[in-house]
């Protein structure tokens, strides 16, 4: 049984998993928040898709003998079109747009010539398998180095950016994901490649002020659509409101020179001179201006971070994006390392068990984990409602990076979980 809002998703997902004739009965949407009387009316009413009485349809689905189609076995190939398309540039732009291969902004047409130029920036062979990607709980699509290059060209990447795009693609992490949540994605780039590519980590570091910051993130979204089959509303994308960050994601080059702390990639085991990209996934990024304590003469930025994070769900991690002025101030007040700051935030950003249990994320994801005995969820669900618990399950759910142009001691907070760090050098 599936609520009506997920009709296309249910039918297509069943087909992709080999049951194109799956018997699905639909209910009105939503079922959450409805009274028993309202739900009884659903059950005693009609399937809103077929128009037939819902329970009769269920009984029929369980007892009607299978048709020959429903018994079929075997492998069925899926066709994604010819290797190339030939037409005028204007018509091709329209074709790519109308067939879901763009982000609805104009693209650079991926010709053999432009793709070959992109491929010259890596030692990897064009037909080498780069990775697999799935934009949800679907069978993943596979792709080669050349197929990644096609998407990098479309996004407007210069060839020298290509190893960064390959590193993202190799992770298999889509920047568009099938959920009613409108997830946001971010990536932190460290190492000398930031300067080699002229990435912006100063004034306006998170804004549209540098080609690599803009196009590497855009390539991530295009390859998520074209290589991972993501971003098809109703099929592989269900975000109810969408997320503006999905256009080119938040590409954050860390301001290593102005930061008093260890670069993020070194925290993850890389050497300072190595190049790496670290991926994050969550709900979004908000500015910290106006947080508690920002008007004092000696601002306690850690309290401001905690204040900002207190409105975030703890389902995703907390990412502090601190301007170097903020980082230097914290260092002068005794936070010699990012880890010391993180330990303070973990200890001092708390919530009541009652508030925790009231969150839909907790009910939908953590409670089933608690039933399986996974910690800390199992313990949290046994505690009294007025007990105070950390905002996040683990201290490692909090991360800190430094970016910005030092025009003011500002920071931004991401409801974002760290997922993985990938070597960029491996893809040069």
């Amino acid at each position: 049984m599936v609520t009506k809002a997920f009709k296309d998703l249910a039918i297509l997902n069943a087909a992709k998993r080999g049951m194109p004739h799956e018997r699905i009965t639909f209910t009105p949407h939503p079922v959450s928040g409805k009274t028993p009387d309202e739900l009884r009316a659903y059950v005693e009413g009609n399937d809103p898709v077929s128009g037939k009485p819902m329970m009769m349809e269920i009984v029929d689905a369980l007892t009607r003998p299978l048709s020959e189609d429903e018994k079929k076995t075997g492998m069925v190939p899926i066709n994604v079109g010819p290797p190339s398309f030939k037409d005028t540039a204007v018509n091709l732009q329209e074709y790519f747009l109308n067939n879901g291969m763009t982000d609805f902004l104009p693209i650079i047409l991926p010709t053999e010539e432009t793709v070959d130029a992109m491929l010259k920036s890596t030692s990897h062979k064009p037909d080498e398998v780069c990775g697999k990607m799935a934009a949800g709980a679907y069978p993943p699509w596979e792709f080669t180095v050349k197929q990644v290059a096609v998407n990098a060209v479309m996004a407007g990447c210069r060839p020298e950016y290509f190893p960064v795009v390959l590193a993202i693609a190799s992770s298999g992490t889509p920047s568009l994901f099938s959920s009613t949540n409108s997830f946001a994605y971010a990536a932190v780039i460290n190492g000398p490649i930031r300067d080699k590519l002229n990435m912006n980590y100063g004034i306006g570091a998170l804004g549209p002020f540098a080609q690599p910051n803009a196009t590497i993130g855009r390539a991530w979204t295009l390859l998520s659509k074209n290589l991972g089959n993501g971003g098809i509303p109703g099929d592989t994308y269900m975000g109810s409101q969408g997320n503006n960050l999905n256009y080119n994601n938040a590409i954050i080059a860390e301001n290593e020179a102005a930061s008093p702390w260890t670069p993020f990639h070194v925290q993850k085991g890389f050497k300072v001179e190595e190049n790496a990209i670290s991926l994050f996934r969550g709900l979004g990024i908000v500015p910290g201006q106006g947080a508690r304590g920002t008007s004092t003469d000696t601002p306690k930025h850690e309290e401001q971070f905690s204040d900002l994070f207190s409105v975030f769900t703890g389902f995703f991690g907390g990412l502090v994006i601190a301007d170097p002025l903020v980082a230097v101030s914290l260092k002068s007040r005794g936070y010699d390392t990012k880890e010391q700051l993180i330990a303070w935030l973990y200890k001092n950003t708390t919530q009541s068990v009652k508030d925790y249990k009231s969150r839909d994320f907790a009910y939908g994801f953590d409670y089933p984990r608690a039933l399986k005995g996974l910690e800390p969820y199992a313990t949290w669900y046994k505690m009294p409602d007025d007990a105070m618990i950390p905002r996040w399950p683990h201290e490692t759910d909090i991360n800190v990076v430094v970016a910005g142009g030092q025009t003011n001691a500002f920071f931004q907070g991401g409801s974002l979980s760290y997922t993985v760090s990938i070597s960029i050098d491996k893809w040069t």
Binding site: I11, V76, K86, N91, P110, T111, V150, N226, G228
Partner: protein, 131 residues
């Protein structure tokens, strides 16, 4: 919209119904003047795996005296909705026994212990997915 048309519009899966692959849409024909300036652009799409068709489980001849598991996947409201399904069976098909279970793990996780229990003790299962 029927399943075949919906799958065709998405350009990926009608073969699953038809049993044979279909061609994706071709670019529209350009006008005569523009044919002099044609460009060849590469297809940006990756390679989907072929789909292994899975035969559906045999159906029951009747639900009389059978046990049906009602499975919630953890999304809010599914438990209360399935309660009403159970009440309907009790009122309209009293020989049917319903058993409610919340699937363990996050919504997309497998729950092999529950699957084994259903196979051992149940005759059919209804899974509720949605919000």
């Amino acid at each position: 919209m029927n399943r075949r048309k919906m799958l065709s519009l998405l350009g990926i899966s009608p073969a699953l119904l038809a049993g044979a692959p279909v061609d994706a849409q071709k670019p529209k024909k350009s006008d005569a003047k523009a044919t002099l300036n044609k460009v060849e652009a590469l297809n940006p799409r990756g390679t989907p795996p072929p789909t292994q068709l899975v035969p559906m489980a045999p159906r029951l001849a009747s639900l009389d005296g059978k046990t049906i598991y009602l499975i919630g996947d953890g999304f809010p409201g599914a438990d209360h909705f399935l309660d009403q399904i159970g009440i309907w069976f009790k009122k309209n098909m009293p020989s049917v026994t319903t058993v409610y279970r919340l699937k363990a793990g996050a919504f997309a996780d497998e729950d092999p212990n529950l699957w084994a229990e259903i196979k051992a003790k149940g005759n059919a299962a209804i899974m509720a997915i949605g919000h």
